[in-house]
């Protein structure tokens, strides 16, 4: 809602701006890929020599996730906001019970505002984004339902092992990035 002078609109917009600009300087623990974890074809191109592979990290436990729950985490780099949620329907790229667990970048692909505060898991959507109101379909790979974003919401690749959900990669370029694994430090893999 707006104030008479429209000021809330501007504040809302600024407050929602994401954190892509916050380059991490932490120097921890990213290690070379193992063969079985090498990125699939969709991972960043070998053309950028310094890119190795996406980290694999545990994000949640299937048993602890009810429909509508949302978990925020950072992936694939420190400071790259992502969210995981469980939908009431089967989703493209979904894992777990009924293929309903999905995870996405938190940054709207229009101009980078954060959408995790506007996730409606029961309806399977994220949005309207607080800045220019793009809404994404979480069951259809982050497809834009309506609004100005120029790419789908980047989706985190998940798999389930022994009841735990792991993030293993991303489809789609995260807002602000030239490459999802450049210009920052990868999140730390467990046990490494």
């Amino acid at each position: 809602m707006k104030n008479d002078d429209g000021s809330i609109t501007r504040r809302r917009l600024l407050g929602a701006v994401g954190t892509a600009g916050a380059t991490s300087v932490a120097g921890c623990g990213f290690q070379a890929p193992t063969a079985e974890n090498s990125g699939p074809a969709e991972s960043p191109s070998e053309r950028v020599g310094r890119i190795e592979r996406y980290p694999r990290i545990r994000v949640a436990s299937v048993d602890e996730l009810s429909v509508g729950d949302t978990v925020e985490f950072e992936y694939p780099l420190d400071g790259s906001g992502t969210f995981l949620t469980r939908l009431s329907e089967a989703a493209n790229g979904g894992v777990g019970p009924g293929d309903g667990i999905v995870a996405f970048s938190n940054l709207c692909t229009h101009m980078g505002c954060a959408v995790s505060g506007n996730v409606e898991s029961d309806r399977g959507v994220a949005g309207p984004c607080p800045c220019h109101y793009t809404t994404f379909d979480l069951a259809k790979g982050g497809l834009v339902i309506m609004g100005p974003a120029t790419t789908d919401l980047p989706q985190v690749r998940l798999d389930v092992e022994d009841g735990d959900v792991f993030a293993t990669g991303m489809a789609g370029l995260v807002h602000g990035r030239r490459n999802n694994l450049a210009d920052g430090e990868p999140v730390e893999e467990e046990g490494e």
Partner: protein
């Protein structure tokens, strides 16, 4: 998992990448873009100092070139990266963009893009029934010779259907060809069949339909939006101006779209009007304002014409429709249909809401209203006189014009770029075969409906440029049937000009027609074309520099940065070549810059877009008008332009009280400089309304049409662009769940819409139909209401192969032959399950922030 094309990385332009400036190729908002081009193999660094974007990576809010803003093109054996970045420093968009503009790099002429194979690349002539490549000289000689033959008795045998907007250089050369060189009155714009104004009621009242500044939307206290939806269609105008401001929005629309919910969620009003009843609502609002004494009497006294004779002398349109203030107020108060309670029955809007809207518009407690009136195709492509005149009357009645936060403007479709290159009005007065007789005028020549003249045989050579009338026009299924008949006669059998002309002469002598199609991609009209001329996509930056303006008359330079298909030619050059073959000796421009410099120097006062100052400035500085425009870069100048202290100054808004912005003119575009109320009488259209209204007993619905946010026009680029078209892999038909259930239709079913009796005011009614995927939103998911009400269906207006215009009625205003495209009806039946059932997202598209 859905994926995006090319999403893995976006290269960074090096600091020395070539930069040029241009505006978006698509909508009226005219967002500015910077284009960066550099050889493949080079790359900039992630620090601002090391790249041309001046951005530190990772990029922050609004600084990011997304994957769809990048492409690789190839020229002369060298590959180049191209990035289209929304200009962060431009006044219009401040780095913002929509999905349309933000993906335009994906339709550059590039073998990496999906549309590459489809571009028209060489001239063709239909020989032995098939389009066959020929050389330019053969193709243009045939165009010239067939034009000569078609006009051997009278110029009317040549008809032209051309865009109104595709840059002043092209429209100037094209309109010079038809009006000056050939002298035919048979000109139709891309979106209507005649050389008519789109907002006759606004323009003939002395107002201009692009008279405001974008800032007015941010400054208004009340913003009326009728028959349009800026969130859906003018994204950046909505984000940067409407949403940034604090106006209470009054949204008038049969559908509850995003902006309707946005209005309600932000203390505004949504008036969900019954289809086609806008004049009654707008008159009822005006009546209540007058009844309450809320109108601006001082403004009316000073600025609205009250001398009947003077009104009559303004022209036949004003003589027929102009009214003195007394006549206007008498019309409002003497017709009880405009009393709010009665209007409520016709329009479906509560009398309380009508009164509320009247008060918000008139702002009786303020000395000067801050009300902005905006409208678009829901009004224009309906009762075009009544709808637009009723809006103009409200602006004048409340004195809401010429101040910050006031005014009346279209919201707009494409950008604008019409520059008349020949005496259109004189040619029409002399040669038009169409006339109008009204209550006060008799048999006045008017711009001819060229579609009717294609059908009735007056036009023998139809030259179609940059549009697809066999899908764009009204009643198109029947039109295609007629064009098929008229082009099916004698066919050329060799590429010899003499043989070709013998065949075309025989066809024309038998009542047939030859079609020339000048385009960038093939479309429905190409299927019937005899001659195909491949054009450069200058809107995408190919070949030459060009100029046009946006919805606040902001005139800008569009710098060319790539060649495009080597054997295609820009439209202005094609017109000039044809003109010279027909004897013109003043169409020998060497380049688009040369043409523009000539236009600015010799024809700089095309009403009301004065650009004489560009030439004055060029003379002063020893440069050229083209260079003056290039130096104005992303922000250009809002027309009219003038020279002040040696610098180019623009005009934020028209109709200001001192009228200074209009060189040589008064505050309004009339001889007296005062404005005129226009007659808006429901009786003038009530009979046709009855005939067009769907027969509910027979299962008919209103089937209106319009835009969907991400799709542009006839989808000439978007149908070929995977990322865009995957949202709607087929046309959609929005249906209320109750209407769907009655017909055993579910979301994702393929349906057919049939009209057995498409209204045609000139000839027999015929059948029309199209198919679409049913878009039905679950009531539970429709958290802010269903978009379409019961009894009304909505479809995209121009989805290739599934075109709503095939059922659009042939009702054109007798005084100003523009079609009522929005007023179609049909019955809907289920054909079966489509392949979209599990692929398409059927969520509501109207959920606004609360």
């Amino acid at each position: 998992m859905a994926d995006n094309p090319n999403t893995n990385e976006v290269p960074i332009p090096p600091a020395d990448a070539e930069r040029s400036s241009r505006s978006c190729r698509y909508c009226i908002v005219g967002c500015s873009y910077e284009v960066f081009k550099w050889p493949v193999g080079e790359e900039g660094g992630p620090d601002a100092a090391d790249n041309a974007l001046d951005v530190d990576y990772p990029a922050g809010y609004g600084d990011w070139p997304s994957p769809n803003m990048h492409q690789i093109i190839e020229e002369n054996g060298q590959e180049y990266h191209v990035i289209f970045r929304p200009n962060p420093d431009a006044e219009v968009n401040n780095g913002s963009h929509s999905v349309r503009g933000g993906t335009q790099a994906q339709s550059l002429y590039s073998k990496h893009n999906e549309d590459y194979d489809d571009r028209l690349k060489q001239p063709q002539i239909r020989i032995g029934g098939s389009l066959t490549p020929v050389d330019w000289d053969t193709a243009l000689e045939v165009v010239a010779r067939v034009t000569e033959y078609a006009t051997r008795d009278e110029p009317n045998g040549y008809g032209m259907k051309m865009y109104a907007y595709q840059f002043v250089e092209n429209t100037f050369a094209g309109s010079k060809l038809i009006f000056d060189v050939i002298g035919s009155p048979n000109f139709g714009f891309h979106n209507r069949p005649a050389y008519t104004p789109e907002s006759p009621g606004v323009e003939h009242s002395g107002l201009y339909d692009w008279s405001t500044s974008y800032e007015d939307a941010a400054k208004a206290e009340t913003m009326v939006i009728a028959g349009g939806d800026p969130y859906e269609n003018q994204d950046v105008y909505f984000h940067e101006y409407v949403d940034a401001g604090s106006a209470d929005i009054i949204q008038i629309n049969p559908r509850r779209t995003f902006t309707a919910n946005y209005a309600e969620n932000n203390d505004g009003l949504f008036l969900q009007i019954n289809e086609a009843t806008d004049p009654v609502l707008l008159n009822a609002i005006a009546r209540h304002i007058v009844d309450q004494g809320w109108h601006d009497q001082a403004f009316v006294d000073e600025w609205v014409m009250d001398d009947r004779d003077a009104i009559d002398e303004e022209g036949w349109y004003q003589e027929e429709f102009g009214m003195t203030p007394d006549e206007y107020i008498d019309l409002l108060q003497s017709d009880d249909r405009y009393a709010p309670e009665n209007a409520a029955e016709i329009t479906g809007i509560d009398a309380t809401d009508i009164r509320d809207a009247a008060e918000r518009i008139a702002q009786p407690d303020s000395d000067q209203t801050q009300t902005l009136f905006t409208y678009e195709k829901g009004l224009i492509w309906g009762w075009s006189h009544e709808n637009t005149a009723a809006m103009a009357n409200l602006a004048l009645l409340t004195g809401s014009v010429g101040h910050e936060g006031t005014g009346i403007t279209r919201l707009g479709g494409h950008q604008e770029g019409w520059w008349e290159g020949g005496p259109g009005g004189e040619v029409i007065a002399e040669h038009s075969t169409q006339s109008f007789t009204g209550e006060h005028v008799e048999d006045v020549p008017i711009p001819p409906n060229t579609i009717e003249r294609v059908r009735n045989g007056e036009i023998d050579h139809w030259h179609v440029i940059g549009n697809d009338p066999l899908r764009h026009e009204h009643d198109t299924q029947s039109l295609r049937n007629r064009v098929r008949e008229r082009t099916s006669g004698s066919q050329p059998q060799t590429a010899d000009v003499g043989d070709i002309m013998a065949a075309f002469r025989e066809r024309i002598d038998d009542g047939g027609m030859v079609v020339t199609h000048q385009e960038i991609y093939p479309n429905s009209t190409t299927e019937y074309a005899d001659i195909v001329l491949p054009a450069k996509a200058v809107e995408a930056g190919e070949d030459s520099n060009h100029h046009r303006w946006n919805g606040e008359r902001r005139f800008r330079h569009y710098a060319s940065f790539m060649q495009g298909p080597p054997n295609a030619r820009p439209d202005w050059e094609i017109f000039a070549d044809i003109g010279r073959r027909l004897g013109a000796n003043d169409m020998d421009w060497e380049s688009s810059d040369d043409l523009f410099d000539h236009l600015a120097a010799e024809h700089g006062d095309s009403y009301p877009y004065h650009i004489e100052a560009l030439d004055e400035k060029a003379q002063q500085d020893g440069t050229t008008p083209t260079e003056v425009m290039r130096d104005l870069d992303a922000d250009g100048v809002r027309l009219p332009a003038r020279l002040e202290d040696g610098e180019i100054e623009g005009t934020p808004r028209l109709h200001t009280p001192d009228g200074e912005e209009m060189p040589g003119d008064g505050r309004f575009f009339t001889d007296s400089g005062k404005a005129i109320f226009m007659r808006v009488d429901w009786d003038r259209v009530a009979d046709v309304y009855e005939q067009l209204t769907p027969d509910c007993e027979a299962g008919e619905l209103w089937v209106t049409n319009g835009r969907l946010n991400r799709l542009w026009q006839n989808m000439y680029t978007h149908q070929r662009l995977e990322y865009i078209s995957k949202r709607y892999e087929q046309n959609v038909l929005q249906l209320h769940p109750n209407d769907a259930a009655e017909r055993d239709i579910e979301a994702g079913d393929l349906v057919e819409v049939i009209n057995d009796d498409v209204y045609n005011q000139y000839s027999e009614n015929e059948q029309g139909s199209f198919t679409a995927v049913a878009y039905v939103v679950d009531d539970e998911d429709a958290v802010q209401g269903q978009t379409v009400p019961e009894g009304l269906a909505f479809t995209y207006w121009l989805y290739p192969g599934q075109v709503a215009n095939d059922i659009v009625p042939g009702y054109l205003d007798p005084a100003n032959p523009n079609p009522g495209y929005k007023y179609a009806t049909g019955r809907v039946r289920r054909l079966g399950e489509s392949d979209q059932k599990d692929r398409m997202s059927f969520h509501p598209e109207n959920v606004a922030p609360e």
